[in-house]
């Protein structure tokens, strides 16, 4: 289950989807909007996505995770639009028979999302804004 949404990310359906009788371990990673970056106060964020390609890149990552580890089910949900402090920007969930695979696969997915998926984060401060990693 992979999606990009402008609405708040709902944990309940993600959890329900991951529950299968063979699953012994579920690992969920929530990326949350922090109130600061490099000690500078963040007021809010905006995420912009190249939706079709982002979905396609996230699918590649999920496929690779499923190839490397014994992944029974996964969810990847990325938020876009304006987010306030404390809101969930991304939710990754992985169900596996045993726990090591759940941690490894979940971590691989979020680490790789940050490297390859065409989604961009803009941080807004009291005195300006910047595209993370990109503003020269």
């Amino acid at each position: 289950m992979i999606s990009i949404t402008s609405d708040p990310i709902d944990f309940g359906p993600a959890f329900t989807y991951l529950q299968t009788a063979e699953a012994g371990a579920l690992d969920f990673f929530f990326g949350v909007v922090r109130d600061n970056t490099n000690a500078k106060a963040v007021e809010h964020l905006e995420y912009e996505a190249y939706d079709a390609m982002a979905i396609s890149e996230m699918q590649k990552i999920a496929d690779e995770a499923t190839r490397r580890w014994q992944v029974l089910r996964y969810v990847i949900i990325h938020r876009k639009g304006e987010l306030r402090i404390g809101e969930v920007a991304v939710l990754i969930g992985v169900a596996t028979p045993h726990r090591a695979d759940a941690f490894d696969a979940c971590r691989y997915i979020i680490d790789t999302i940050k490297q390859t998926v065409p989604i961009w984060k803009k941080e807004f401060f009291s005195d300006g804004d910047m595209w993370v990693n990109a503003t020269p």
Partner: protein
């Protein structure tokens, strides 16, 4: 003097960005802001490659050259500099990503 410089620039743009085909380029994030629009059209030679498109755009929008990386996606896939592009491809500029 001002007018002359403007006129001198035009042929350069024409050479780089006004040829046998015209490709649409989607812009996101900082590239959308630097260019000031979410989509642009760039004329290119018929056998143009990704590297030709980047050269043309960086000439026309020099601030794109200040980005620490600028990739091109063709039909939702990251493309190599020598990938050929045509007017039917969906093309997008991909500045450094920051999702997650």
């Amino acid at each position: 003097m001002y007018r002359k410089r403007t006129l001198l620039k035009l042929p350069v743009r024409y050479y780089l960005c006004a040829m046998n085909q015209s490709v649409s380029v989607l812009l996101f994030g900082i590239t959308r802001e630097l260019v000031g629009q979410s989509k642009l059209t760039c004329p290119l030679p018929a056998a143009a490659r990704v590297s030709d498109l980047l050269d043309a755009l960086k000439t026309q929008y020099p601030r794109l050259g200040d980005l620490k990386s600028l990739l091109v996606a063709v039909n939702n896939e990251y493309a190599e500099p020598d990938t050929r592009i045509t007017s039917t491809d969906e093309i997008a500029l991909i500045p450094p990503v920051s999702g997650g």
